[in-house]
């Protein structure tokens, strides 16, 4: 199936959602305390649900999965870049890159991908062509993978008292990679 979509609507949606996110982040950090909760909720919604909005826009515009997903994931990518800039004020570049693998960041990616997977399911369900049963049977592996990953993450964090052992394992790997034997 040819990719009939366009990049521009996706980039526009990413820019709009990220701009709202930055604004709400500023309010959360520097605005009145009573507005902080709402601002953080808006920011989190943009980060976690924004990719699925972008994904839906692109899919309905005729984009194939690859284009829609890569543009939609620009939102957590921009968030990550912002985080790495912040972290690099304290830690060297290589260690800052390793920060991208911290459990909270990984949780954000998982949590962002799952709504996209739901959009994909909904899109196939409504789309013409294959029957609904075939659409369900034809779920791409990444859709299933996203569900499995999120479920596994949630179970591990719940089992592990908020994910403490996972965090300690992450720090232990950091020591192996970056420190000299301690």
């Amino acid at each position: 199936v040819p990719d009939e979509g366009r990049w521009r609507p996706g980039f526009g949606a990413v820019a709009a959602i990220y701009a709202v996110g930055l604004l709400s982040w500023r309010v959360a950090n520097h605005g009145p305390p009573h507005a902080a909760g709402v601002a953080i909720a808006v920011y989190a919604a943009g980060l976690l649900l924004g990719p699925s909005v972008v994904y839906a826009v692109l899919r309905r515009g005729g984009s194939r999965v690859g284009r829609a997903a890569s543009v939609a994931l620009g939102i957590p990518l921009l968030w990550l870049v912002k985080e790495l800039v912040r972290v690099s004020a304290v830690h060297p570049p290589a260690e800052s890159l390793y920060y991208a693998l911290n459990p909270v960041a990984v949780g954000v990616y998982c949590a962002a991908v799952v709504p996209m997977a739901l959009v994909e399911v909904e899109f196939r369900w409504r789309s013409e062509g294959p029957s609904r049963r075939e659409a369900v049977r034809g779920w791409p592996a990444w859709v299933l993978g996203a569900f499995v990953l999120l479920a596994a993450t949630a179970a591990a964090v719940g089992y592990d008292n908020g994910g403490r052992e996972i965090f300690y394992a992450y720090v232990a790997l950091y020591r192996v990679l970056f420190s000299s034997g301690s």
Binding site: W25, A28, N29, P33, H34, A36, G37, I40, E83, R86, V87, S88, A89, V90, H91, E95, Y98, Y99, N102, V104, N161, G162, R164, E165, F167, Y168, V171, A172, Y174, R175, F178, S179, S182
Partner: protein, 495 residues
């Protein structure tokens, strides 16, 4: 008395050890480098007199040190907190002295713990942070080792938590109870223990209760020699868990957040690793309930001292490794050079030694002073390696003058936000130089105790920063600015 090899020590051996250690102390001690000026009392001389006068006639006191974790200096009822109740700490303050200006030289668990034990700054003892920079060196000399050499029976019970390969070989510690799970942080319930090198399950479900039981068991052992018990609680480190009957103890307490904080500060700017997976108000209530649970255990220990007729002969010290930020400066963390973090509680009860129980001492006291203080109370002097000074003179004279300035330092720890820094704290100023993309900061902690106004671009900074930089350079070189100094106070005010 058992030594590390499990041998029994005789009273004669104890006295011989005490004499050796006393000679070592008098010959090698470098207590209080700076001389007193302007007719003020000289802590060094007072120390010497204190040692000489006592050691010949008195049996050294027993020593109990209780070290908690992340306990803010103001989070106890005697410290003015609006709702937490800490009757045991209040009792210690009432019957002893409160050091109202006590500080951690590195406001982080492992380095601070090593500083307590060794009497040295982090850049000297080598434990730079909790996990990845530096490590505990078994060649470090601890006050426990020196007390043991002098004949004390010693026990380390509780949180060790220092980076290194496994548990240390602590010379001079007769009884070592600790835990290693969760990177040495332990857990509040059903925490497996390591008892003298052997793994054992906890007998009590709640860790503070288990540790207190073991501490009471140690002090109740019949012995001729004095003892030193070093009890290190996990409380009140996150995840805060009070005793089951204290759950919800402060559920209805009104929590007032500091300026700049909101309920969700723990979710901003990477602060999530500070341990706040919930609104700050909820975390504070749990923290305070955990403080009260720990306080109850401290009360049990004090009662046991009474019950075993040991209270009169036992010096009890309560302190913590560092403080904590509950939203101040938009952070829920430690490590940063803010008063809420570097200040620690320090209470000393020393029956028959404190001249005026219930008094407060305003001179600046440091974690590195613990070792020299305990050694002085035992009639010993600290070895030259120790960088702190004895606080024993304040027992007789709470108004004795204090040190001029000291070094505050931090070494970055991945993935936390605080950069490496070194700074100098005087009675009035806190000046800090950072690594990474951070500019130096200067705060007047007398007029602006919450450090809301950075003075670096003001005329005041032009006046005082050169001298503070000179002091910082001296401290980095290892010089001590311990003694009371008119010039130091002059710098503080006029530059």
């Amino acid at each position: 008395m058992d030594d590390m090899l499990g041998r029994r020590r005789s009273r004669r051996a104890f006295l011989a050890g005490l004499a050796r250690a006393l000679l070592h102390g008098l010959g090698g001690a470098t207590l209080g480098a700076a001389a007193a000026k302007g007719g003020r009392a000289d802590p060094t001389a007072a120390n010497r007199a204190h040692r000489a006068g006592r050691a010949a006639t008195e049996r050294p006191p027993n020593i109990v040190v209780i070290l908690s974790d992340n306990h803010r200096w103001d989070a106890w009822s005697g410290g003015g907190h609006p709702f937490v109740r800490t009757p045991a700490l209040d009792r210690l303050a009432r019957e002893g002295l409160t050091f109202a200006n006590a500080f951690a030289t590195t406001p982080l668990c492992s380095p601070a713990r090593a500083s307590f034990l060794t009497g040295r700054y982090a850049w000297q003892h080598g434990v730079w942070n909790n996990s990845d920079r530096g490590r505990w060196d078994d060649d470090n000399v601890t006050f426990l080792e020196l007390l043991s050499r002098a004949g004390y029976a010693t026990a380390f019970i509780g949180k060790w938590h220092m980076p290194g390969s496994g548990l240390p070989r602590l010379r001079g510690v007769d009884h070592f109870v600790t835990f290693t799970i969760q990177e040495g942080q332990g857990r509040y319930f059903d925490c497996p223990l390591v008892v003298d090198g052997r793994e054992e399950p906890s007998r009590k479900a709640y860790l503070p209760e288990e540790l207190t039981d073991r501490a009471i068991g140690f002090l109740a052992e019949p012995r001729d020699a004095p003892f030193c018990l070093y009890l290190c609680h996990k409380s009140v480190h996150h995840p805060w868990r009070p005793a089951p009957d204290h759950e919800g103890l402060y559920a209805d307490a009104p929590v007032e957040l500091p300026t700049g904080a909101h309920s969700w500060t723990g979710f901003t700017n990477g602060e999530i690793f500070g341990g706040f997976e919930r609104p700050i108000e909820s975390a504070i209530r749990s923290y305070m309930a955990t403080v009260s649970s720990m306080d109850r255990e401290i009360g049990r220990l004090l009662d046991a001292l009474e019950r075993h007729d040991l209270a009169r002969d036992t010096v009890v010290v309560y302190t913590s490794d560092n403080g904590f930020l509950f939203g101040e400066h938009g952070r829920v963390e430690l490590r940063w050079p803010f008063e809420e973090v570097i200040r620690i509680p320090l209470l000393v009860r020393a029956p028959q030694r404190v001249a005026t129980p219930g008094r407060r001492v305003d001179a600046m006291a440091l974690n590195i002073d613990l070792g020299p203080t305990l050694l002085a109370l035992a009639g010993l002097g600290p070895p030259p390696l120790m960088q702190g000074v004895s606080l024993a003179p304040y027992l007789a004279d709470p108004d004795a003058p204090g040190r001029q300035a000291w070094l505050v330092e931090n070494h970055r720890e991945f993935p936390y936000n605080a950069p490496s820094y070194r700074g100098v704290r005087t009675e009035r100023y806190l000046y800090v130089e950072y690594e990474g993309r951070f500019d130096p900061t200067l705060h007047d902690v007398v007029d602006d105790p919450r450090q809301l106004h950075d003075l670096m671009d003001t005329a005041e900074a032009e006046r005082v920063v050169p001298m503070l930089r000179a002091q910082l350079a001296a401290l980095k070189r290892g010089e001590r600015l311990d003694g009371p100094s008119d010039s130091g106070r002059g710098v503080d005010r006029a530059g």
